[in-house]
Symmetry: C2
Subunit: 309 residues, 2 copies
Protein backbone atom coordinates (compact mmCIF):
# COMPACT_ATOMS: atom_id res chain seq x y z
CA UNK A 1 0.00 0.00 0.00
CA UNK A 2 2.66 2.50 -1.03
CA UNK A 3 1.27 5.82 -2.21
CA UNK A 4 2.52 9.38 -2.46
CA UNK A 5 1.22 9.82 1.09
CA UNK A 6 3.46 7.10 2.54
CA UNK A 7 6.37 8.48 0.51
CA UNK A 8 5.87 12.07 1.67
CA UNK A 9 5.16 11.18 5.28
CA UNK A 10 7.74 8.43 5.58
CA UNK A 11 5.39 5.93 7.19
CA UNK A 12 4.59 2.39 6.16
CA UNK A 13 0.80 2.65 5.94
CA UNK A 14 -1.24 5.49 4.39
CA UNK A 15 -3.26 5.82 7.58
CA UNK A 16 -3.23 9.03 9.61
CA UNK A 17 -4.64 9.58 13.08
CA UNK A 18 -6.73 12.73 13.43
CA UNK A 19 -5.55 15.47 15.81
CA UNK A 20 -8.27 15.54 18.47
CA UNK A 21 -7.63 18.24 21.08
CA UNK A 22 -6.29 16.85 24.40
CA UNK A 23 -6.65 13.28 23.03
CA UNK A 24 -4.10 13.19 20.21
CA UNK A 25 -1.12 12.96 22.50
CA UNK A 26 1.84 10.65 22.86
CA UNK A 27 0.06 7.57 24.19
CA UNK A 28 -2.26 7.37 21.18
CA UNK A 29 0.00 8.88 18.53
CA UNK A 30 2.96 6.65 19.37
CA UNK A 31 0.73 3.56 19.13
CA UNK A 32 -0.31 4.68 15.64
CA UNK A 33 3.31 5.27 14.61
CA UNK A 34 4.43 1.93 15.99
CA UNK A 35 1.61 0.23 14.05
CA UNK A 36 2.94 1.78 10.84
CA UNK A 37 0.58 4.75 10.56
CA UNK A 38 1.11 8.46 11.06
CA UNK A 39 0.44 9.63 14.60
CA UNK A 40 -0.34 13.30 15.08
CA UNK A 41 0.06 15.46 18.17
CA UNK A 42 -2.56 18.14 18.66
CA UNK A 43 -1.97 21.77 19.51
CA UNK A 44 -5.63 22.84 19.51
CA UNK A 45 -5.69 22.58 23.30
CA UNK A 46 -3.38 25.57 23.21
CA UNK A 47 -1.36 24.01 26.03
CA UNK A 48 1.99 24.24 24.35
CA UNK A 49 3.94 23.33 27.46
CA UNK A 50 2.08 20.05 27.64
CA UNK A 51 2.47 19.56 23.90
CA UNK A 52 6.22 20.02 24.25
CA UNK A 53 6.26 17.26 26.86
CA UNK A 54 4.17 15.03 24.64
CA UNK A 55 6.57 15.48 21.75
CA UNK A 56 9.45 14.60 24.08
CA UNK A 57 7.54 11.47 25.11
CA UNK A 58 7.06 10.57 21.46
CA UNK A 59 10.81 10.43 20.99
CA UNK A 60 10.99 7.91 23.84
CA UNK A 61 8.05 5.84 22.63
CA UNK A 62 8.80 5.58 18.93
CA UNK A 63 11.55 6.10 16.41
CA UNK A 64 9.01 6.41 13.60
CA UNK A 65 8.06 9.77 12.11
CA UNK A 66 5.08 11.62 13.53
CA UNK A 67 3.27 14.87 12.84
CA UNK A 68 1.77 17.87 14.55
CA UNK A 69 -1.49 19.62 13.74
CA UNK A 70 -1.96 23.37 13.82
CA UNK A 71 -5.68 24.13 14.23
CA UNK A 72 -5.63 27.79 13.32
CA UNK A 73 -9.00 28.48 14.89
CA UNK A 74 -7.54 27.76 18.31
CA UNK A 75 -3.88 28.60 17.95
CA UNK A 76 -3.74 32.19 16.87
CA UNK A 77 -0.21 33.01 17.92
CA UNK A 78 2.10 32.87 14.85
CA UNK A 79 4.92 31.67 17.11
CA UNK A 80 3.25 28.25 16.79
CA UNK A 81 5.27 27.87 13.59
CA UNK A 82 8.56 28.42 15.40
CA UNK A 83 7.34 26.11 18.13
CA UNK A 84 6.61 23.29 15.68
CA UNK A 85 9.85 23.82 13.77
CA UNK A 86 11.85 23.79 17.00
CA UNK A 87 10.36 20.43 17.95
CA UNK A 88 12.04 18.91 14.92
CA UNK A 89 8.77 17.66 13.49
CA UNK A 90 8.81 16.95 9.74
CA UNK A 91 5.09 16.75 9.02
CA UNK A 92 2.32 19.21 9.83
CA UNK A 93 -1.36 19.31 9.08
CA UNK A 94 -2.96 22.73 9.21
CA UNK A 95 -6.69 23.10 9.67
CA UNK A 96 -9.57 25.41 10.50
CA UNK A 97 -8.06 28.48 8.94
CA UNK A 98 -6.51 30.27 6.01
CA UNK A 99 -3.85 28.11 4.32
CA UNK A 100 -1.92 31.17 3.16
CA UNK A 101 -1.15 32.02 6.78
CA UNK A 102 1.44 29.38 7.69
CA UNK A 103 2.12 27.27 4.60
CA UNK A 104 5.05 29.28 3.24
CA UNK A 105 6.65 29.60 6.69
CA UNK A 106 6.36 25.88 7.33
CA UNK A 107 7.54 24.97 3.85
CA UNK A 108 10.51 27.32 4.17
CA UNK A 109 11.44 25.47 7.35
CA UNK A 110 11.52 22.25 5.35
CA UNK A 111 8.31 20.69 6.65
CA UNK A 112 5.75 18.71 4.67
CA UNK A 113 2.39 20.47 4.94
CA UNK A 114 -1.09 19.03 4.37
CA UNK A 115 -4.09 21.32 4.79
CA UNK A 116 -7.49 20.05 5.89
CA UNK A 117 -10.33 21.11 3.56
CA UNK A 118 -14.12 20.66 3.56
CA UNK A 119 -14.83 21.96 0.03
CA UNK A 120 -13.27 22.14 -3.43
CA UNK A 121 -12.88 25.89 -3.07
CA UNK A 122 -10.82 25.49 0.08
CA UNK A 123 -8.78 22.78 -1.63
CA UNK A 124 -7.87 25.02 -4.56
CA UNK A 125 -6.93 27.82 -2.20
CA UNK A 126 -4.64 25.52 -0.24
CA UNK A 127 -2.97 24.24 -3.39
CA UNK A 128 -2.41 27.84 -4.47
CA UNK A 129 -0.80 28.44 -1.08
CA UNK A 130 1.72 25.72 -1.88
CA UNK A 131 0.69 22.78 0.34
CA UNK A 132 2.18 19.34 -0.34
CA UNK A 133 -1.15 17.60 0.03
CA UNK A 134 -4.68 17.82 1.35
CA UNK A 135 -6.88 16.11 3.90
CA UNK A 136 -10.37 16.20 2.34
CA UNK A 137 -12.79 15.80 5.20
CA UNK A 138 -16.37 14.80 4.58
CA UNK A 139 -19.19 16.22 6.67
CA UNK A 140 -20.07 12.83 8.19
CA UNK A 141 -16.94 13.06 10.29
CA UNK A 142 -16.78 14.30 13.85
CA UNK A 143 -15.41 17.60 15.07
CA UNK A 144 -15.36 20.98 13.42
CA UNK A 145 -17.17 21.21 10.12
CA UNK A 146 -18.16 23.55 7.39
CA UNK A 147 -21.85 24.19 8.12
CA UNK A 148 -22.52 23.49 4.42
CA UNK A 149 -21.22 19.95 4.87
CA UNK A 150 -20.28 17.75 1.92
CA UNK A 151 -19.98 13.98 2.19
CA UNK A 152 -16.74 12.08 1.65
CA UNK A 153 -18.26 10.22 -1.32
CA UNK A 154 -18.73 13.54 -3.13
CA UNK A 155 -15.88 15.65 -1.75
CA UNK A 156 -12.95 13.27 -2.18
CA UNK A 157 -13.36 12.43 -5.89
CA UNK A 158 -14.22 16.05 -6.64
CA UNK A 159 -11.07 17.36 -5.00
CA UNK A 160 -8.93 14.57 -6.46
CA UNK A 161 -10.17 15.39 -9.96
CA UNK A 162 -9.11 19.04 -9.64
CA UNK A 163 -5.74 18.96 -7.88
CA UNK A 164 -2.44 17.20 -8.52
CA UNK A 165 -1.30 16.91 -4.91
CA UNK A 166 -2.03 13.71 -2.95
CA UNK A 167 -5.27 13.63 -0.98
CA UNK A 168 -6.00 11.93 2.34
CA UNK A 169 -9.69 11.07 2.79
CA UNK A 170 -11.32 11.73 6.16
CA UNK A 171 -14.89 11.35 7.36
CA UNK A 172 -16.57 7.96 7.56
CA UNK A 173 -13.33 5.96 7.57
CA UNK A 174 -13.04 3.10 10.06
CA UNK A 175 -11.89 -0.06 8.34
CA UNK A 176 -10.64 -1.80 5.22
CA UNK A 177 -13.88 -1.31 3.29
CA UNK A 178 -13.93 2.44 3.76
CA UNK A 179 -10.17 2.62 3.09
CA UNK A 180 -10.59 0.72 -0.18
CA UNK A 181 -13.47 3.02 -1.11
CA UNK A 182 -11.30 6.06 -0.37
CA UNK A 183 -8.65 4.73 -2.76
CA UNK A 184 -11.28 4.12 -5.42
CA UNK A 185 -12.40 7.73 -4.99
CA UNK A 186 -8.87 8.91 -5.75
CA UNK A 187 -7.41 9.33 -2.27
CA UNK A 188 -3.95 8.03 -1.45
CA UNK A 189 -4.45 7.80 2.27
CA UNK A 190 -7.07 7.95 5.00
CA UNK A 191 -7.42 9.77 8.30
CA UNK A 192 -9.46 8.44 11.23
CA UNK A 193 -10.73 10.37 14.24
CA UNK A 194 -13.66 8.59 15.87
CA UNK A 195 -12.07 5.19 15.40
CA UNK A 196 -8.92 6.45 17.11
CA UNK A 197 -10.83 8.02 20.02
CA UNK A 198 -12.34 4.59 20.62
CA UNK A 199 -9.01 2.73 20.41
CA UNK A 200 -7.55 0.98 23.43
CA UNK A 201 -4.58 3.40 23.58
CA UNK A 202 -6.80 6.48 23.39
CA UNK A 203 -6.49 8.32 26.71
CA UNK A 204 -10.21 9.12 27.05
CA UNK A 205 -12.44 7.64 29.73
CA UNK A 206 -14.08 4.31 28.98
CA UNK A 207 -17.51 5.98 29.05
CA UNK A 208 -16.58 8.05 25.98
CA UNK A 209 -15.29 4.95 24.18
CA UNK A 210 -18.41 2.99 25.12
CA UNK A 211 -20.60 5.84 23.86
CA UNK A 212 -18.95 5.43 20.46
CA UNK A 213 -19.24 1.65 20.55
CA UNK A 214 -22.91 1.72 21.53
CA UNK A 215 -24.00 4.50 19.14
CA UNK A 216 -25.91 3.83 15.96
CA UNK A 217 -25.01 5.54 12.68
CA UNK A 218 -27.85 7.98 13.31
CA UNK A 219 -26.53 8.93 16.74
CA UNK A 220 -24.63 12.08 15.91
CA UNK A 221 -25.78 15.68 16.10
CA UNK A 222 -24.60 18.58 13.96
CA UNK A 223 -24.45 21.79 15.98
CA UNK A 224 -24.32 25.36 14.68
CA UNK A 225 -25.73 24.42 11.31
CA UNK A 226 -26.16 28.10 10.53
CA UNK A 227 -23.43 29.55 12.71
CA UNK A 228 -19.74 29.06 13.23
CA UNK A 229 -18.03 26.92 14.18
CA UNK A 230 -20.25 24.06 13.02
CA UNK A 231 -19.36 20.76 14.63
CA UNK A 232 -20.54 17.16 14.79
CA UNK A 233 -20.71 15.36 18.11
CA UNK A 234 -22.12 12.12 19.45
CA UNK A 235 -25.80 12.25 20.33
CA UNK A 236 -26.29 12.46 24.08
CA UNK A 237 -29.14 14.01 26.05
CA UNK A 238 -26.87 17.05 26.41
CA UNK A 239 -26.08 17.51 22.72
CA UNK A 240 -29.53 16.61 21.48
CA UNK A 241 -31.12 19.24 23.71
CA UNK A 242 -28.94 21.90 22.05
CA UNK A 243 -29.41 20.69 18.48
CA UNK A 244 -31.88 23.38 17.46
CA UNK A 245 -30.09 26.29 19.09
CA UNK A 246 -29.02 29.05 16.74
CA UNK A 247 -25.53 29.36 18.26
CA UNK A 248 -24.05 26.83 20.62
CA UNK A 249 -20.83 27.67 22.49
CA UNK A 250 -18.18 24.98 22.79
CA UNK A 251 -18.59 24.99 26.53
CA UNK A 252 -16.35 25.25 29.53
CA UNK A 253 -12.97 23.61 29.35
CA UNK A 254 -13.40 22.07 32.78
CA UNK A 255 -16.50 20.23 31.65
CA UNK A 256 -14.86 19.10 28.41
CA UNK A 257 -11.97 17.61 30.34
CA UNK A 258 -14.43 16.13 32.81
CA UNK A 259 -16.12 14.34 29.91
CA UNK A 260 -12.94 13.23 28.19
CA UNK A 261 -11.05 12.00 31.21
CA UNK A 262 -13.59 11.48 34.01
CA UNK A 263 -16.34 10.04 31.85
CA UNK A 264 -19.07 12.51 32.78
CA UNK A 265 -21.06 12.64 29.54
CA UNK A 266 -23.37 15.39 30.76
CA UNK A 267 -22.25 18.99 30.49
CA UNK A 268 -19.98 18.83 27.43
CA UNK A 269 -19.75 17.49 23.89
CA UNK A 270 -18.28 14.14 22.94
CA UNK A 271 -16.95 14.76 19.43
CA UNK A 272 -17.56 11.94 17.01
CA UNK A 273 -18.69 11.07 13.51
CA UNK A 274 -21.43 8.95 11.96
CA UNK A 275 -18.94 6.11 11.55
CA UNK A 276 -19.39 5.46 15.29
CA UNK A 277 -22.29 3.32 14.08
CA UNK A 278 -19.74 0.98 12.52
CA UNK A 279 -17.44 0.74 15.55
CA UNK A 280 -18.35 -2.25 17.69
CA UNK A 281 -15.46 -2.69 20.09
CA UNK A 282 -12.56 -0.94 21.78
CA UNK A 283 -9.49 -2.45 20.15
CA UNK A 284 -5.75 -1.83 20.13
CA UNK A 285 -4.45 0.46 17.39
CA UNK A 286 -2.17 -2.24 15.98
CA UNK A 287 -5.09 -4.64 15.53
CA UNK A 288 -7.22 -1.94 13.91
CA UNK A 289 -4.51 -0.96 11.44
CA UNK A 290 -3.47 -4.53 10.64
CA UNK A 291 -7.01 -5.67 10.04
CA UNK A 292 -7.97 -2.64 7.97
CA UNK A 293 -4.89 -2.95 5.79
CA UNK A 294 -5.43 -6.67 5.21
CA UNK A 295 -9.14 -6.18 4.49
CA UNK A 296 -8.52 -3.24 2.20
CA UNK A 297 -5.99 -5.24 0.25
CA UNK A 298 -8.29 -8.29 0.01
CA UNK A 299 -11.25 -6.20 -1.17
CA UNK A 300 -9.19 -4.43 -3.83
CA UNK A 301 -7.61 -7.66 -5.05
CA UNK A 302 -11.00 -9.37 -5.26
CA UNK A 303 -12.67 -6.52 -7.14
CA UNK A 304 -9.60 -6.15 -9.32
CA UNK A 305 -10.07 -9.73 -10.42
CA UNK A 306 -13.81 -9.38 -10.94
CA UNK A 307 -13.32 -6.20 -12.95
CA UNK A 308 -10.69 -7.86 -15.15
CA UNK A 309 -12.99 -10.75 -16.11
CA UNK B 1 -19.52 -6.36 -13.82
CA UNK B 2 -21.90 -9.23 -13.04
CA UNK B 3 -23.27 -9.14 -9.50
CA UNK B 4 -26.32 -10.48 -7.72
CA UNK B 5 -28.02 -7.24 -8.74
CA UNK B 6 -27.56 -7.83 -12.48
CA UNK B 7 -28.65 -11.44 -11.98
CA UNK B 8 -31.81 -10.56 -10.06
CA UNK B 9 -32.75 -7.63 -12.27
CA UNK B 10 -31.78 -9.23 -15.56
CA UNK B 11 -29.85 -6.22 -16.82
CA UNK B 12 -26.31 -6.04 -18.13
CA UNK B 13 -24.95 -3.33 -15.84
CA UNK B 14 -25.51 -2.97 -12.08
CA UNK B 15 -26.70 0.61 -12.57
CA UNK B 16 -30.21 1.70 -11.64
CA UNK B 17 -31.91 4.98 -12.47
CA UNK B 18 -33.71 6.58 -9.52
CA UNK B 19 -37.49 7.04 -9.69
CA UNK B 20 -37.91 10.83 -9.71
CA UNK B 21 -41.57 11.85 -9.75
CA UNK B 22 -42.78 13.06 -13.20
CA UNK B 23 -39.20 12.68 -14.54
CA UNK B 24 -38.62 8.91 -14.37
CA UNK B 25 -40.77 8.16 -17.35
CA UNK B 26 -40.34 6.26 -20.61
CA UNK B 27 -38.02 8.70 -22.38
CA UNK B 28 -35.39 8.53 -19.63
CA UNK B 29 -36.02 5.00 -18.38
CA UNK B 30 -35.88 3.44 -21.83
CA UNK B 31 -32.56 5.18 -22.52
CA UNK B 32 -31.18 3.64 -19.33
CA UNK B 33 -32.46 0.19 -20.27
CA UNK B 34 -31.07 0.46 -23.79
CA UNK B 35 -27.68 1.45 -22.32
CA UNK B 36 -27.68 -1.73 -20.25
CA UNK B 37 -28.90 -0.30 -16.94
CA UNK B 38 -32.19 -0.64 -15.10
CA UNK B 39 -34.70 2.08 -15.97
CA UNK B 40 -37.43 2.75 -13.44
CA UNK B 41 -40.86 4.29 -13.98
CA UNK B 42 -42.15 6.42 -11.12
CA UNK B 43 -45.60 6.29 -9.57
CA UNK B 44 -45.02 8.99 -6.96
CA UNK B 45 -46.79 11.51 -9.20
CA UNK B 46 -49.91 9.49 -8.42
CA UNK B 47 -50.96 9.87 -12.06
CA UNK B 48 -51.53 6.23 -12.74
CA UNK B 49 -53.21 6.80 -16.09
CA UNK B 50 -50.10 8.54 -17.32
CA UNK B 51 -47.89 5.87 -15.76
CA UNK B 52 -49.87 3.21 -17.63
CA UNK B 53 -49.16 5.06 -20.88
CA UNK B 54 -45.48 5.35 -19.98
CA UNK B 55 -45.22 1.63 -19.35
CA UNK B 56 -46.88 1.02 -22.73
CA UNK B 57 -44.31 3.33 -24.34
CA UNK B 58 -41.51 1.40 -22.63
CA UNK B 59 -42.58 -1.74 -24.44
CA UNK B 60 -42.23 0.13 -27.75
CA UNK B 61 -38.90 1.71 -26.85
CA UNK B 62 -37.04 -1.23 -25.36
CA UNK B 63 -37.15 -4.99 -25.07
CA UNK B 64 -34.96 -4.88 -21.98
CA UNK B 65 -36.36 -5.35 -18.47
CA UNK B 66 -37.39 -2.28 -16.50
CA UNK B 67 -38.84 -1.56 -13.08
CA UNK B 68 -41.45 0.50 -11.30
CA UNK B 69 -41.11 2.34 -8.00
CA UNK B 70 -43.84 2.51 -5.40
CA UNK B 71 -43.22 5.54 -3.18
CA UNK B 72 -45.54 4.68 -0.34
CA UNK B 73 -45.61 8.22 1.02
CA UNK B 74 -47.39 9.37 -2.12
CA UNK B 75 -49.23 6.29 -3.31
CA UNK B 76 -51.47 5.25 -0.46
CA UNK B 77 -54.00 3.19 -2.40
CA UNK B 78 -53.14 -0.54 -2.00
CA UNK B 79 -54.49 -1.15 -5.50
CA UNK B 80 -51.09 0.13 -6.65
CA UNK B 81 -49.87 -3.44 -6.18
CA UNK B 82 -52.50 -4.81 -8.55
CA UNK B 83 -51.70 -1.99 -10.91
CA UNK B 84 -48.00 -2.83 -10.99
CA UNK B 85 -48.61 -6.55 -11.29
CA UNK B 86 -51.06 -6.00 -14.15
CA UNK B 87 -48.45 -4.04 -16.06
CA UNK B 88 -46.32 -7.17 -16.25
CA UNK B 89 -43.37 -5.51 -14.54
CA UNK B 90 -40.91 -7.93 -12.91
CA UNK B 91 -38.94 -5.53 -10.69
CA UNK B 92 -40.18 -3.06 -8.10
CA UNK B 93 -38.47 -0.74 -5.70
CA UNK B 94 -40.54 0.34 -2.72
CA UNK B 95 -39.65 3.44 -0.77
CA UNK B 96 -40.74 6.02 1.76
CA UNK B 97 -42.82 3.69 3.85
CA UNK B 98 -43.24 0.48 5.79
CA UNK B 99 -41.72 -2.50 3.93
CA UNK B 100 -44.18 -4.90 5.53
CA UNK B 101 -47.02 -3.22 3.66
CA UNK B 102 -46.47 -4.43 0.11
CA UNK B 103 -43.51 -6.80 0.11
CA UNK B 104 -45.43 -10.04 0.62
CA UNK B 105 -48.09 -9.06 -1.93
CA UNK B 106 -45.48 -8.17 -4.54
CA UNK B 107 -43.40 -11.27 -3.83
CA UNK B 108 -46.51 -13.47 -4.04
CA UNK B 109 -47.12 -12.01 -7.47
CA UNK B 110 -43.64 -13.13 -8.47
CA UNK B 111 -41.91 -9.76 -8.53
CA UNK B 112 -38.40 -8.97 -7.37
CA UNK B 113 -38.60 -6.35 -4.61
CA UNK B 114 -35.89 -3.96 -3.40
CA UNK B 115 -36.71 -1.57 -0.58
CA UNK B 116 -35.03 1.83 -0.22
CA UNK B 117 -33.55 2.42 3.24
CA UNK B 118 -31.76 5.33 4.95
CA UNK B 119 -30.62 3.51 8.11
CA UNK B 120 -29.54 0.08 9.33
CA UNK B 121 -32.71 -0.23 11.35
CA UNK B 122 -34.86 0.25 8.26
CA UNK B 123 -32.67 -2.23 6.38
CA UNK B 124 -33.17 -4.95 8.98
CA UNK B 125 -36.91 -4.33 8.99
CA UNK B 126 -37.06 -4.65 5.21
CA UNK B 127 -35.06 -7.87 5.25
CA UNK B 128 -37.44 -9.23 7.88
CA UNK B 129 -40.29 -8.32 5.55
CA UNK B 130 -38.76 -10.55 2.91
CA UNK B 131 -37.31 -8.17 0.33
CA UNK B 132 -34.89 -9.50 -2.29
CA UNK B 133 -32.50 -6.60 -1.89
CA UNK B 134 -32.01 -3.08 -0.62
CA UNK B 135 -31.23 0.34 -1.98
CA UNK B 136 -29.14 1.97 0.77
CA UNK B 137 -29.43 5.69 0.19
CA UNK B 138 -26.97 8.09 1.77
CA UNK B 139 -28.08 11.49 3.00
CA UNK B 140 -25.97 13.36 0.44
CA UNK B 141 -28.45 12.31 -2.23
CA UNK B 142 -31.32 14.41 -3.50
CA UNK B 143 -34.98 13.95 -2.74
CA UNK B 144 -36.72 12.61 0.35
CA UNK B 145 -34.48 11.84 3.26
CA UNK B 146 -34.45 10.69 6.82
CA UNK B 147 -33.91 13.93 8.78
CA UNK B 148 -31.16 12.10 10.71
CA UNK B 149 -29.20 11.63 7.49
CA UNK B 150 -26.34 9.16 7.22
CA UNK B 151 -23.74 9.36 4.47
CA UNK B 152 -23.23 6.66 1.84
CA UNK B 153 -19.67 6.02 3.10
CA UNK B 154 -21.07 5.00 6.49
CA UNK B 155 -24.49 3.58 5.59
CA UNK B 156 -23.56 1.22 2.76
CA UNK B 157 -20.81 -0.79 4.49
CA UNK B 158 -22.84 -0.85 7.70
CA UNK B 159 -25.90 -2.30 5.96
CA UNK B 160 -23.81 -4.68 3.86
CA UNK B 161 -22.13 -6.05 6.98
CA UNK B 162 -25.48 -6.90 8.60
CA UNK B 163 -27.63 -8.31 5.79
CA UNK B 164 -27.21 -11.12 3.28
CA UNK B 165 -29.32 -9.64 0.48
CA UNK B 166 -27.64 -7.61 -2.27
CA UNK B 167 -27.38 -3.87 -1.72
CA UNK B 168 -27.55 -1.07 -4.28
CA UNK B 169 -25.73 2.09 -3.14
CA UNK B 170 -27.39 5.46 -3.73
CA UNK B 171 -26.38 8.99 -2.77
CA UNK B 172 -23.26 10.61 -4.19
CA UNK B 173 -22.97 8.28 -7.18
CA UNK B 174 -22.23 9.84 -10.55
CA UNK B 175 -19.35 8.07 -12.25
CA UNK B 176 -16.86 5.23 -12.30
CA UNK B 177 -14.97 6.42 -9.23
CA UNK B 178 -18.06 6.52 -7.03
CA UNK B 179 -19.27 3.21 -8.51
CA UNK B 180 -15.94 1.54 -7.71
CA UNK B 181 -16.11 2.99 -4.19
CA UNK B 182 -19.64 1.61 -3.78
CA UNK B 183 -18.38 -1.86 -4.70
CA UNK B 184 -15.51 -1.53 -2.24
CA UNK B 185 -18.07 -0.64 0.43
CA UNK B 186 -19.91 -3.89 -0.23
CA UNK B 187 -22.63 -2.79 -2.66
CA UNK B 188 -23.36 -4.81 -5.77
CA UNK B 189 -24.98 -2.03 -7.72
CA UNK B 190 -25.51 1.73 -7.77
CA UNK B 191 -28.51 4.01 -8.24
CA UNK B 192 -28.25 7.53 -9.66
CA UNK B 193 -30.81 10.31 -9.42
CA UNK B 194 -29.21 13.71 -9.91
CA UNK B 195 -26.96 12.42 -12.69
CA UNK B 196 -30.02 11.05 -14.48
CA UNK B 197 -32.05 14.26 -14.07
CA UNK B 198 -29.17 16.02 -15.83
CA UNK B 199 -28.90 13.49 -18.66
CA UNK B 200 -29.72 14.42 -22.24
CA UNK B 201 -32.75 12.11 -22.32
CA UNK B 202 -34.16 13.48 -19.05
CA UNK B 203 -37.42 15.27 -19.86
CA UNK B 204 -36.78 18.25 -17.58
CA UNK B 205 -36.23 21.78 -18.85
CA UNK B 206 -32.69 22.77 -19.73
CA UNK B 207 -32.71 25.32 -16.89
CA UNK B 208 -33.01 22.51 -14.34
CA UNK B 209 -30.20 20.56 -16.01
CA UNK B 210 -28.03 23.66 -16.16
CA UNK B 211 -28.69 24.34 -12.48
CA UNK B 212 -27.22 20.90 -11.71
CA UNK B 213 -24.27 21.43 -14.05
CA UNK B 214 -23.45 24.85 -12.61
CA UNK B 215 -23.88 23.96 -8.95
CA UNK B 216 -20.98 23.40 -6.59
CA UNK B 217 -20.91 20.49 -4.15
CA UNK B 218 -22.02 22.91 -1.44
CA UNK B 219 -25.05 24.04 -3.43
CA UNK B 220 -27.74 21.86 -1.91
CA UNK B 221 -30.15 22.62 0.89
CA UNK B 222 -31.67 20.16 3.34
CA UNK B 223 -35.24 21.13 4.21
CA UNK B 224 -37.32 19.98 7.18
CA UNK B 225 -34.31 18.93 9.17
CA UNK B 226 -36.54 18.51 12.20
CA UNK B 227 -39.83 17.74 10.49
CA UNK B 228 -41.11 15.28 7.93
CA UNK B 229 -40.63 14.75 5.16
CA UNK B 230 -37.00 15.86 5.11
CA UNK B 231 -35.68 16.45 1.62
CA UNK B 232 -32.57 17.69 -0.17
CA UNK B 233 -32.86 20.09 -3.09
CA UNK B 234 -30.58 22.24 -5.18
CA UNK B 235 -29.73 25.58 -3.65
CA UNK B 236 -31.68 28.36 -5.35
CA UNK B 237 -32.81 31.70 -3.93
CA UNK B 238 -36.18 30.02 -3.37
CA UNK B 239 -34.91 27.00 -1.45
CA UNK B 240 -32.26 28.89 0.49
CA UNK B 241 -34.83 31.36 1.78
CA UNK B 242 -36.80 28.46 3.26
CA UNK B 243 -33.83 26.59 4.71
CA UNK B 244 -34.40 27.64 8.29
CA UNK B 245 -38.16 27.14 8.34
CA UNK B 246 -39.43 24.62 10.85
CA UNK B 247 -41.80 22.93 8.39
CA UNK B 248 -41.65 23.50 4.66
CA UNK B 249 -44.49 22.19 2.48
CA UNK B 250 -43.60 20.53 -0.80
CA UNK B 251 -45.40 23.26 -2.67
CA UNK B 252 -48.04 23.50 -5.33
CA UNK B 253 -48.01 20.91 -8.05
CA UNK B 254 -48.46 23.56 -10.73
CA UNK B 255 -45.29 25.29 -9.66
CA UNK B 256 -43.35 22.02 -9.46
CA UNK B 257 -44.33 21.15 -13.01
CA UNK B 258 -43.56 24.72 -14.05
CA UNK B 259 -40.03 24.26 -12.69
CA UNK B 260 -39.50 20.81 -14.14
CA UNK B 261 -40.87 21.40 -17.60
CA UNK B 262 -40.96 25.17 -18.16
CA UNK B 263 -37.69 25.98 -16.44
CA UNK B 264 -39.04 28.47 -13.93
CA UNK B 265 -36.68 27.90 -10.99
CA UNK B 266 -38.54 30.25 -8.68
CA UNK B 267 -41.55 28.99 -6.79
CA UNK B 268 -40.69 25.31 -6.39
CA UNK B 269 -37.90 22.93 -5.42
CA UNK B 270 -35.40 21.42 -7.82
CA UNK B 271 -34.54 18.10 -6.18
CA UNK B 272 -30.88 17.21 -6.36
CA UNK B 273 -27.95 15.85 -4.38
CA UNK B 274 -24.48 17.06 -3.44
CA UNK B 275 -23.05 15.11 -6.35
CA UNK B 276 -24.34 17.90 -8.61
CA UNK B 277 -20.98 19.49 -7.79
CA UNK B 278 -19.35 16.68 -9.78
CA UNK B 279 -21.62 16.89 -12.81
CA UNK B 280 -20.13 19.17 -15.45
CA UNK B 281 -22.17 18.54 -18.59
CA UNK B 282 -25.48 17.32 -19.94
CA UNK B 283 -24.66 14.02 -21.61
CA UNK B 284 -26.54 11.12 -23.17
CA UNK B 285 -27.32 8.22 -20.86
CA UNK B 286 -25.40 5.75 -23.01
CA UNK B 287 -22.23 7.84 -22.78
CA UNK B 288 -22.61 8.24 -19.02
CA UNK B 289 -23.09 4.52 -18.43
CA UNK B 290 -20.35 3.44 -20.85
CA UNK B 291 -17.81 5.82 -19.38
CA UNK B 292 -18.65 5.02 -15.79
CA UNK B 293 -18.45 1.29 -16.38
CA UNK B 294 -15.11 1.57 -18.17
CA UNK B 295 -13.70 3.91 -15.52
CA UNK B 296 -14.96 1.76 -12.66
CA UNK B 297 -13.37 -1.28 -14.20
CA UNK B 298 -10.06 0.50 -14.84
CA UNK B 299 -9.90 1.86 -11.27
CA UNK B 300 -10.63 -1.53 -9.73
CA UNK B 301 -8.12 -3.31 -11.98
CA UNK B 302 -5.43 -0.75 -11.17
CA UNK B 303 -5.99 -0.88 -7.41
CA UNK B 304 -6.28 -4.65 -7.57
CA UNK B 305 -2.79 -4.75 -9.04
CA UNK B 306 -1.38 -2.27 -6.54
CA UNK B 307 -2.91 -4.17 -3.62
CA UNK B 308 -1.51 -7.47 -4.87
CA UNK B 309 2.06 -6.15 -5.01
Amino acid sequence: MRTRVTELLGCELPIVQAPMGYIARAQLASAVCEAGGMGIIETSSGRLDEVRDEIRKMRDLTTKPFGVNIAQLFVRDPSIVDFVVEQGVRFVTTSAGDPTKYTALLKDAGLTVFHVVPTLRAALKAVDAGVDGLVAEGGEGGGFKNPRDVSTMVLVPLVCSKVDVPVIAAGGIADGRSMAAAFALGAEGVQMGTRMVSAAESPVHTNYKQLIVESAETDTVFLNRFARPGFRVMRTPYSEALEREEQVPLGELGKILDLYFEGNLEGAFAFGGQVAGRIEAVRPVKEILEEMTADCRAILVEWGKRAAE
